[in-house]
């Protein structure tokens, strides 16, 4: 076995040794940024799954729509980017709630598969709507020189946005954890995620709690989308699809329903994806498959996720 795989092993070590410190640092920065973006989007998936036990397939497409909103705000309507940023967050949050009200709430009592199909349908509708309204031609996310400029740190060239992304992510995470753990609304959200019937008996307004969850998830997705656009400027109607799948997988890896787990999963996938391609450039076509492989491994060895808790199912 060693003889057969010796070639690849040698390549790997050569890759590490040949890679200079600055290259390594560069890849780390890229991976960390990507991981932060994944983390922001994964939080939305994990929160909705924690409360409604469903995969919000449309979440990825909300990210996509946020990018289009930003495009229209800055490039078409010439609104300053920092104002557009706020506007995009608000617009995306509204979109998230609209989807919840129209596609998910009517099916709350229906069998599980129905809401899954509805989520798929909502996702499909958003993609086709974007394709129809904005045409399938890739649009260019507006350039924001303050964020897209390159900063030199030592030998490493970093895009300014790469410094902003992790800061935004951790800031958002801190705010979110405060809300969830130290406010009445957050307590209600945690209660609803475990037993929504008895939460109702406590007087909690379930509909409002669920809407709040979607607002938070969508707002985070909008923040992520905006920064994604600066980093990867090509916007198409299908830009959310692959990242969406990966971000859900990130949420599963970290333990579905667990916010910190989603962040952890996001970083694992982001860093892993960048470094695999860095060390094995011949595998770059397969970079999207990395997430699914990690998914399979996790589902085999720790199906509840890295930070997840085993729950017994009563028959």
């Amino acid at each position: 076995m060693l003889i057969v795989y010796g070639g690849e092993e040698m390549e790997f070590f050569q890759a590490i040794l040949n890679m200079s410190a600055s290259s390594l640092a560069q890849h780390f920065v890229n991976g960390f940024s990507l991981g932060s973006l994944y983390a922001l989007i994964a939080i939305g998936y994990t929160m909705v799954y924690g409360i409604l036990l469903m995969i919000n397939f449309a979440h990825a497409d909300i990210v996509m729509m946020a990018c289009y909103f930003a495009f229209f705000g800055i490039t078409v309507f010439h609104i300053p980017w920092y104002l557009t940023f706020v506007g995009v967050i608000i617009a995306t949050a509204i979109l998230g709630v609209v989807i919840e009200r129209t596609a998910y709430r009517p099916l709350r009592e229906a069998p599980k598969n129905s809401v899954l199909i509805s989520a798929i349908g909502a996702s499909f509708l958003l993609e086709n709507l974007a394709n129809y309204l904005f045409s399938g031609r890739p649009l260019s996310f507006p350039d924001i020189p303050l964020l897209s400029q390159n900063i030199a740190i030592g030998e490493v060239q970093i895009q300014a946005i790469c410094l902003v992304i992790p800061v935004m992510t951790f800031l958002s995470l801190a705010v979110l954890l405060h809300i969830v753990n130290h406010t009445k609304t957050g307590m209600a959200m945690r209660a609803v995620s475990k037993d929504y019937e008895i939460a109702r008996v406590m007087g909690v307004n379930i509909d409002r709690v669920i809407s709040t969850t979607f607002i938070i998830g969508s707002a985070l997705a909008a923040i992520g989308a905006f920064m994604w656009g600066v980093r990867y400027p090509g916007i198409t109607p299908y830009l959310g699809v692959m990242p969406g799948l990966k971000c859900f997988i990130a949420a599963v890896i970290g333990g579905i329903g667990n916010i910190k787990g989603a962040v952890l999963g996001g970083f694992i996938l982001g860093l892993g994806e960048i470094f695999i391609v860095a060390f094995f450039p011949q595998l770059s076509g397969y970079r999207d498959a990395f997430a699914f492989i990690v998914l399979i491994i996790i589902l085999f060895y720790k199906p509840t996720g890295l930070l997840g808790v085993k729950t017994t199912e009563k028959v």
Binding site: K184, M187, A188, R190, A191, S193, K194, D195, E197, I198, A199, R200, V201, M202, G203, V204, N205
Partner: protein, 237 residues
Amino acid sequence: MLKVENLVVSYGGIEALKGISLEVPEGKIVTLIGANGAGKSTLLRSIIGLVKPGSGKISYEEKDITGLNSQKIVETGITLVPEGRRVFPNLTVLENLKIGAYLRNDKDGIEKDIRWIYDLFPRLEERSWQMAGTLSGGEQQMLAVGRALMSRPKVLMMDEPSLGLAPLVIKDIFKIIQEINNQGMTVLLIEQNANMALKIADIAYVLETGRITMTGTGKELLENPEIKAAYLGKKKD
């Protein structure tokens, strides 16, 4: 105070309550006993608004509360200790109590009531930072009662509080029910453990497959030979 008239409730395709009427006067302990599947839980769930009745009327202090949603019903002062405790396992003991007071805004009042609950249930105070999911069955039952009391209810409904608990713990729970009642609380108690329930009840109803078949004071039913035979274990002659 709480009045149910000709309530008909269907649940999962089956008519669980076939037109029952009962009354819970203020300050009394009323118990409803019956076998598994008789429809007892369905009654409480209808009153608290989790299940919509097919027909009939539920009124509280002369006001019609039939078919209202849970939030409104809890606001009027009725609360439920659910079957199987159903504390929130991912919230601490203290948070469970706080969420019982979800509809209240008076911080000082809530602090005082938490103190009251801790005095009633010292074990809960010991564990106030623990996740409710890690408590024992008896402790969870105490927490569920405490949580219900936090909304300062006027009517406390309890669904099978003795279920799954050790006999000594059951004794404690029933002592506390009586103590709360002495402090003025109206109690509607549902039990399979007919013995304990009838001992503390002022008024008792028997529910059999969706219908009330007998009513009387707790003592009367304890002595009743039919009840003895069906629910209390007749002595061998």
